[in-house]
């Protein structure tokens, strides 16, 4: 029987219902270093599918609501309980540090979508194909640079108005033609809804983007240990 990992916690484990993915048993495997991992007992021949990802998310939410936890990337499997324990023990120091940093915290996510695509510059009507190509290329690059600068300025303003420390914010800008900013803020769980409302208020003041605020979610973005 393999294990599909959901979340790492410190011992002792909280009392949780014993139902994991697709109703299979949810098990806690404790390691010698005071850490443990909540996992679903999973037959090795059974494949994970898309909907299991959402169920994993709901399980991680349930575990994080019961005790401080580190979400594990979906799809992580262990060949046995011993393999899970060995993996935790091998990285115990980093995992304890990560747990201390994000345990009891949640993340609120903000996506800013461009309201309108960047306007195309008019092409000189009499220009030849080479000139038109170069003009188009130049306009495209300038448009992209302007968008990136604007996106970064939106991030700066969000951080300033939230009055939050930079290490508690993660962001990317212009990850696709539609996305201006993808940002996550790490906040104490008990203040997450308050921070979500504040983020919504600040972002609604930006006229050139549509804001989408999500969460609070388990601190996926901030749980990295490498």
């Amino acid at each position: 029987m393999t294990l599909i990992a959901h979340a790492i916690v410190a011992a002792p484990p909280a009392s949780l219902s014993a139902e994991g993915l697709r109703g299979r048993p949810l098990a806690w495997s404790g390691a010698a270093t005071g850490l443990g991992v909540w996992s679903t007992e999973w037959p090795p021949e059974m494949k994970l599918e898309g909907p299991d990802a959402m169920e994993h998310h709901r399980l991680v939410e349930r575990i994080c609501a019961a005790q401080p936890c580190l979400p594990v990337r979906f799809g992580t499997s262990f060949a046995s309980v011993e393999a899970a324990r060995a993996s935790l023990d091998k990285r115990a120091e980093a995992l304890h540090a990560a747990l201390a940093r994000v345990g009891g915290k949640s993340e609120v996510a903000l996506t800013l979508l461009w309201r309108n695509p960047a306007p195309a510059e008019p092409i000189v009507p009499a220009a030849g194909p080479g000139r038109r190509y170069m003009e188009d290329r130049r306009a495209e690059l300038m448009g992209r640079e302007a968008q990136r600068a604007r996106a970064e300025s939106l991030v700066d303003r969000l951080i300033a108005e939230l009055a939050i420390e930079r290490p508690l914010v993660w962001h990317e800008t212009c990850t696709s033609a539609s996305v201006a900013v993808s940002l996550a803020v790490l906040v104490p769980t008990e203040r997450a809804l308050e921070q979500k409302a504040e983020l919504t208020r600040i972002a609604s003041g930006f006229r050139d983007v549509i804001s989408v605020v999500n969460g609070p979610w388990p601190p996926y973005t901030f749980a990295r240990t490498e």
Partner: protein, 62 residues
């Protein structure tokens, strides 16, 4: 490319976190999800993973 709606953005943000974030127990674990390519570069590319999830759901429903 299809324009991203607010609903799309919410789903993509969550899927991006599930597949691309969280603790990685490298060397001891494997990432194995049927039909989903977990190697992608960011929010824009995760669109393909969402399409794959949709197709998998349709296959299960039929």
């Amino acid at each position: 490319m299809k324009e991203l709606t607010a609903e799309d953005a919410s789903l993509l943000e969550l899927v991006d976190r599930l597949l691309n974030k969280g603790v990685v127990l490298a060397g001891e674990a494997t990432i194995s999800v049927a039909g989903i390519d977990l190697i992608y570069l960011g929010l824009n590319v995760v669109l393909s993973a969402v399409e794959t999830i949709d197709k998998a759901q349709q296959r299960r429903a039929s």
